[in-house]
């Protein structure tokens, strides 16, 4: 085992145990356990002793075992039972301590779930025994002796709540996106679109570069950023090979693709997994954002940043050649299944952006391609197996962890460590944005969003309640900032692919990443403060 793996495992597990067993003032046991799981997940996600999706699965497993009302710790089975008997009048005799301060009795219902009963009549018999009457109270009732027991006070959620995160509407939205993308890849729609979209951009290197970037961004708005980058690389590599090896434009083209793919992912809710994490966090706070609303906010931002990135790339890597020949062979697949996939793609996107007209939510429409494409035989079981299921697990685990952070009050407690009110809306976006940007450059964007978002939303919700704070705009702003963290090859998979081609060096990527990133952070903050609040109130 590598040292890093070992250290990761050790620190993660030690963090989990320490958070559980070292008492922390102001934190209850559930919050402490949640903190432990959070630390373990954070360490595992950062140091990656196990794959990040495996960490997400581990999070859910730990939650159902340690945090659920059926788990090892908070199960009602762990509570001591009172000795009860029935007197001659039919009243149930219970120990006086077992009655809660609010006059409730707590029962272990069929040895599984907690049942709260408010007795209709309570008579103090004086010898430490109470005679109680009420619905459902009889000699077989399993009365819990200690109303202060953790299984009662913790207010633990059922394990099914954690499982439900895997089928949350946001996950389904992404599943829909996957189905569309799989069909598009299967019938070469992505390549065909690239061919068509690139045509108007002619042969001048600068324009070709812009064409490639717009193309990449458009595709990555609907497909995974990574798949888009890999696909575009198959288009770009032959072009690069035709460019003289001393021409800096090689690097320009090779960098344009991942930059555009990362930026393009921001454009739609299904563009990249951090969007899902943000949407899920907002949903938890009772806010639903439609596909079109997101696009109205994000698309202008995307276009501005894309054009800026194009300008930066051309400035840094000035093309020497005057013309660039692009040969893209192929034509649209015109088979029945291919046409079916185009139609479903168009209909789904159309329904997504017209939510305001028909009122069917984005996440419901997302199931249309999931249901129809396999039914038409456009996707077979091999294609369905080919979905990036681990991404869904990753997001699902994040949502589940966010659930506990909020429910156990850990998020509120963590937030309480800082005095946010003095910062104001700008300060909150800047702090979370900058922290998120820094983390996201080093680790997975989704994981960064997973760790930042529950805290941001807690602060935001508190500020929003106090007025003068636009929760949606701030969250979208922070999400966008996380998505443009692309300084290093490890920052995003598209960056890794571009690096792997061996055309660019880390310093080239860092240069572009920092300039575009900083500009993007600034633009996102400006939008979050001044522009987006105009769209969502």
């Amino acid at each position: 085992m590598k040292l890093k793996t070992f250290l990761g495992l050790l620190v993660g597990i030690a963090g989990l145990l320490a958070a559980i067993f070292i008492p922390i003032p102001g934190l209850g046991l559930p919050a402490q356990i949640t903190l432990g799981i959070f630390i373990l997940a954070a360490v595992f996600w950062i140091m990656e002793p196990i794959p990040i999706y495996a960490t997400s699965m581990m999070v859910i497993f730990l939650q159902i075992m340690l945090l659920s009302s059926q788990g090892f710790i908070f199960s009602v089975r762990t509570a001591p039972l009172a000795e009860v008997s029935v007197n001659e009048t039919g009243a149930l005799l219970v120990p006086a301590e077992s009655l809660g301060e609010d006059g409730s009795l707590y029962l272990n219902k069929s040895n599984k779930a907690l049942q709260v009963v408010r007795p209709s009549e309570v008579v103090d018999l004086g010898d430490g025994t109470l005679a109680v009457r009420g619905e459902g109270l009889n000699e077989n009732s399993l009365v819990i002796a200690d109303p202060e027991h953790r299984s009662i006070t913790a207010g633990a959620t059922s394990y099914t709540a954690f499982y439900h995160t895997l089928a949350s509407p946001i996950i389904m939205l992404f599943l829909g996106g996957f189905a569309l993308a799989a069909a598009a890849v299967k019938f070469g729609l992505d390549r065909s679109l690239t061919r068509v979209l690139l045509k108007p951009f002619g042969k001048r290197p600068a324009m070709v570069c812009l064409g490639l970037m717009l193309c990449t961004a458009t595709l990555s708005a609907f497909m995974s950023n990574t798949a888009t980058t890999a696909m575009m690389m198959t288009v770009v590599l032959p072009i690069v090979a035709s460019i003289s090896s001393t021409d800096p434009f090689r690097k320009c083209v090779a960098l344009a693709i991942p930059v555009a793919a990362n930026i393009g992912g921001i454009a739609t809710p299904i563009g990249t997994p951090p969007n899902a994490v943000a949407l899920a966090a907002l949903k938890e706070s009772g806010i639903n954002i439609s596909f079109s609303t997101w696009m109205v906010m994000a698309v202008p931002f995307t276009i501005v940043l894309l054009v800026f990135a194009w300008w930066v790339l051309l400035a840094l890597f000035k093309p020497q050649a005057n013309t660039l020949e692009i040969k893209l062979a192929g034509s649209f697949d015109k088979s029945a299944k291919a046409i079916a996939s185009y139609v479903i793609f168009a209909v789904t996107v159309l329904l997504w952006v017209t939510e305001k007209l028909h009122g069917i939510s984005t996440t419901m429409i997302a199931f249309l391609p999931v249901a129809i494409l396999p039914a038409l035989g456009v996707l077979d079981k091999k294609d369905i197996r080919g979905f990036s299921w681990e991404v869904l697990w990753l997001v699902g685990g994040g949502i589940s962890l966010g659930l506990s952070l909020k429910e156990t009050g850990l998020a509120a407690w963590l937030i309480g460590l800082v005095s946010w009110n003095s910062l104001g809306a700008l300060g909150v976006i800047v702090v979370f944005g900058v922290v998120g940007y820094l983390i996201a450059n080093l680790i997975s964007h989704t994981v960064s969003a997973t760790m930042i978002m529950p805290l941001a939303i807690t602060v935001g919700a508190a500020l929003a309640a106090a007025g003068d704070f636009n929760l949606v705009a701030s969250i979208v702003s922070i999400t966008a900032i996380i998505s443009i963290a692309m300084v290093l090859p490890i920052s995003t998979p598209p960056n890794a692919i571009a690096m792997a081609t061996g055309i660019i060096e880390t310093k080239d990527m860092a240069k572009v990443g920092v300039i575009v990133g900083v500009a993007g952070v600034l633009l996102a903050i400006v939008c979050g403060i001044a522009y987006w609040p105009l769209i969502v109130s």
Binding site: V185, M233, L237, G386, A500, T501, G502
Partner: protein, 165 residues
């Protein structure tokens, strides 16, 4: 990421040294091993196997004492752990018959005739290793810079080998 080895087998020291020198540039990504006979190659393979590493490609001379390259590759093709390794015969001697037999029985993927050029050898190595990486569904990123990046990129997006994180 598993290490993927390249193994060169030739009984003649000067030829072996030349092949080794020509393939040295691949070693940044693919560790190189050499052997001067089929028996020694087996020992090397055992060691590779014990490390949990894989054999991506073998260049084997045909005319060798005791066991010909064709026979050795044929044996290799019968071993489950080496079945998918790409196999190339490197020789100036084998007639058509030996070549046909090697293709039929040894799962031969390529035939390099001596004298070879470094460019030809590297091209063959890159193509065969690209085939190997694709056939094994290995994460192609670490190999992209040295192998056929276009094919690897195409493979990875078609098969969804890498996803957003």
């Amino acid at each position: 990421m598993n290490q993927i080895y390249i193994l060169c087998v030739d009984d003649e020291a000067d030829v072996l040294e030349a092949v080794e020198r020509d393939l040295a540039t691949m070693e940044e990504v693919f560790p190189l091993e050499i052997a001067s006979s089929a028996d020694e190659a087996r020992q090397v393979l055992e060691r590779i196997d014990a490390q949990g590493a894989e054999l991506g490609l073998i260049f084997c001379d045909h005319v060798m004492p005791k066991e010909t390259g064709g026979e050795f590759l044929s044996w290799l093709d019968g071993q489950p752990q080496w079945k998918r390794s790409r196999k190339a015969l490197l020789t100036g001697q084998a007639g058509l018959e030996a070549t046909v037999s090697a293709i039929n029985n040894a799962g031969l993927d390529f035939y390099v005739s001596k004298p070879w050029t470094q460019e030809g050898l590297l091209q063959a190595a890159k193509r065969l290793l690209t085939d190997y990486v694709i056939s094994r569904n290995i994460d192609p990123l670490p190999y992209m810079s040295i192998l056929d990046a276009t094919r690897l990129a195409e493979h990875s997006y078609k098969r969804g080998l890498i996803s957003d994180t």
